[in-house]
Symmetry: C2
Subunit: 249 residues, 2 copies
Amino acid sequence: MNDVRTTPAKTTRDGAGDHLALDSQGPPMGEAERADVLRLLGLIAFTELATFTRLAAVATGAPTPAQHLHVVRLAGAALDRQEQILRRISELGGDADAEMLQFTGTFDDYDSRTEPQTWWEGVLKGYVGNGVADDFCRIAVDGLDEQTRALVVEVLDDNRSAELSVAVLGEASEADTVLASRLALWGRRLVGEALGLVQHLLVAHPALGRLVVEGARKHQESAEVDQAWVFSQLTAEHTRRMGRLGLAA
Amino acid sequence: MNDVRTTPAKTTRDGAGDHLALDSQGPPMGEAERADVLRLLGLIAFTELATFTRLAAVATGAPTPAQHLHVVRLAGAALDRQEQILRRISELGGDADAEMLQFTGTFDDYDSRTEPQTWWEGVLKGYVGNGVADDFCRIAVDGLDEQTRALVVEVLDDNRSAELSVAVLGEASEADTVLASRLALWGRRLVGEALGLVQHLLVAHPALGRLVVEGARKHQESAEVDQAWVFSQLTAEHTRRMGRLGLAA
């Protein structure tokens, strides 16, 4: 399951110039590059599958039938996004289900360390965890071919789930300061675990590390950028996101 | 939530001739008739929502990642069917979410009495329960306007879930006679509870009783048909369905 290539793929791609920015009309990607892209898409699809599972579980505890239905629809939307990403994997010649399912178990440790005790904690977990995952992917896709990049950005922009979270959590924590401080604490715990999970993924899948640094360099137009910069970005975005809830990060 | 109309709507409709067979190009339905149709569509949509919830829960216990994914997709398909039915409710001028959500809680008693203890029991529960629900709806829609009937039949024909069940359960019970006899027993328990649930629904929602008898009469081209005939049909179909698994009903 781990990335077993030992050749320094980044060097190869540096020589390939703007291959990465070509859309599907352009020349085909190199094999090493394609394998990296498939790995990232597999992770994104798997993240959507995990989001589906989390939301389907959260739905059963929703306080009202209308909220239940709303969360069920968010779960359905996550599944639609998963299928869109899987279609792109197939278009790129990958084995879609297999690329996704190789990540099976990846989030288990994270999940067991961050089991929500209340409906609110469950909603915040999704908001924080998906936020970090989205930010990571947004950086990583900056290095991808234009068609894949556009698809992923479109998928990530489907932020209905985050909007619901902001509405639900913002209202609740404004009305209840005890809840607000508990959730702020929970948010710090969640982001620590989420960043640990990203670190774990980068070690287990060097392809992801290559892509995210490459994307970050394009994004910043600087060759100085490294993984540490990526983590500082993820932390800054998390702080901004908690601010949207009126909670201290 | 109960049907509060006290006028004998069936008599009214008897006078309306073949109103019921008209498609959307024809004259509008009568108000009483429309209320009955909306009630049935609300129940069908709610059944799909319940199927979604059941499958999403079953998915987490799937023996393999591939089966997990398969069941997740079945859950997504149930949600798609729910949305199709809700769109039809809107087309007919109903408040779609409200028509569905009025059934909230309807299956709780059934569910608590038929909680599956194993993955196999969970799969069989879906097969038996959805089978009875589908058969009931197939009879009831025979009395509806053609466009609604066609939509519902198309939705019910989406039988991927049943096919999976037949494959999974048939194989397992062929290989394990102890499991087979346990599942046969479980199937008898399930159908008893499911028929009890139908009885409960007919009492709580007279609209459903009117539609199913009307549909049955059209189906049989006989005015002699009553609710008892409907239950005998449901039982016969269940027996046939268990036979497809190689299990005695």
